[in-house]
């Protein structure tokens, strides 16, 4: 089985590493920096080859898009060639445009998985998993902490300066990103972090998957300096790799007549978690477990439990908050 990976950055490299750790998988890697792609291929073994462009990837049935934002043109070309797409995008523009490819993907008979990373991605899987225990999900709140590679750090920087979208009853609510401080508690050792509204892809993906929910919102952790400098160009080049990150998903709704709250979370380096999610999803797409169309990982038709179990086997483990008290 051959899988294509576009982007040899922090997420793409981790996706390739996860893919070649699976039996009978070969990877074709494409990166604008051919020398970087070749270095990754050399480091990860003979199962990895390098191609100059995605059009030159022969015999590939699924492609992981792990390059910086701007996945739509590549995804459209792949769909038209009958190739499934797993996009690790985290920008709301990308997510909206990829979701709009639904009819095209159904026509081509291929899945287009939108936001197959750490957040969105693992966060959406956790939301779907948690939703199984509710009669109806009324409210979904997602928070994330940390960034992966340089592209993720730029996205985080920009997300605090844009417009945050949240779903409220029957329409989208626009609020300035960087506002609405809320102390969110992530699994240890990350713990409590100040989180703010941000321009993220999660509300779009979660509303697509939970149309019955009346409130959907996403926040991202930030420092005062992050917020202060978010409307300026980045003062210095972003880090090559961020530290420990976390996601936290809170669902509310009725369960057996009582109103309940479920809180799930996970910690990992975001790029490592994103690479694992993208690779596991790509393997399941190859196995035929994903229907055609464009959707995020909170889609109810997906084998959520199997995906989470496979991620746990690969070291990406989730946690549930048990107990009472304010969260």
């Amino acid at each position: 089985m051959r899988v294509g990976v576009l982007g040899a950055g922090a997420v793409g490299t981790r996706a390739v590493r996860q893919l070649v750790a699976s039996p009978n998988v070969e990877v074709v890697l494409v990166d604008p920096d051919g020398a970087r792609a070749q270095r990754v291929a050399t480091a990860l073994g003979r199962q990895v080859s390098v191609a100059p462009t995605s059009a030159a990837m022969a015999g590939v049935r699924v492609v992981v898009l792990a390059q910086p934002a701007g996945h739509v043109a590549e995804a459209t070309a792949l769909i038209d060639r009958g190739v499934a797409v797993v996009s690790a995008c985290d920008s709301p523009e990308d997510a909206a445009e990829l979701l709009a490819l639904d009819a095209r993907a159904i026509g081509a008979g291929v899945p287009v998985v939108v936001g197959a990373g750490f957040s969105p991605g693992l966060s959406c899987l956790l939301a779907r998993f948690a939703s199984r225990s509710f009669d109806v999900v009324d409210e979904v709140y997602v928070a994330k902490h940390g960034t992966g590679g340089p592209a993720c750090a730029r996205q985080h920087h920009d997300s605090l300066a844009g417009t945050s979208l949240s779903w409220r009853v029957d329409g989208w609510l626009s609020r300035p990103a960087g506002s609405g401080r809320e102390l969110c508690w992530f699994p240890e050792p990350v713990g409590g972090r100040d989180c703010y509204r941000a321009e993220t892809a999660e509300p779009l993906l979660l509303h697509d998957a939970f149309p019955e929910a009346t409130r959907i919102a996403a926040r991202t952790s930030a420092t005062r300096r992050d917020r202060l400098t978010s409307r300026l160009p980045m003062m210095r080049p972003p880090h090559a790799e961020g530290g420990l990150g976390a996601v936290r998903v809170e669902l509310r709704g009725p369960r057996l007549g009582a109103r309940e709250i479920e809180v799930l979370g996970a910690i990992d380096r975001p790029a490592i978690g994103a690479g694992a999610v993208a690779a596991v999803v790509a393997l399941e797409v190859l196995a035929g477990a994903f229907p055609s169309g464009a959707y995020g990982l909170a889609d109810p038709r997906l084998p959520t439990e199997h995906l989470l179990a496979e991620l746990a086997r690969r070291g990406v483990k989730a946690a549930r908050f048990t107990g009472t008290g304010g969260m």
């Binding site: 998993f129 506002s179 969110c184 508690w185 199997h306 179990a309 107990g323 009472t324 008290g325």
Partner: protein, 45 residues
């Protein structure tokens, strides 16, 4: 002297804006009991 007054005024204004930004939003309460436990996923297949 005029420059000093202006600098002090700017500092006070910045402090007020920072305080307003800090106070807006919810403080949250640390969890009072319980904690994070590893999620056990029962695979259906």
């Amino acid at each position: 002297m005029k420059a000093l007054r202006r600098a002090l005024l700017a500092l006070v204004a910045a402090g007020l804006v920072a305080a307003a930004m800090r106070l807006r939003g919810k403080g949250g309460v640390p969890p009072q009991s319980g904690g994070w436990r590893e999620l056990v996923v029962n695979e259906p297949r």
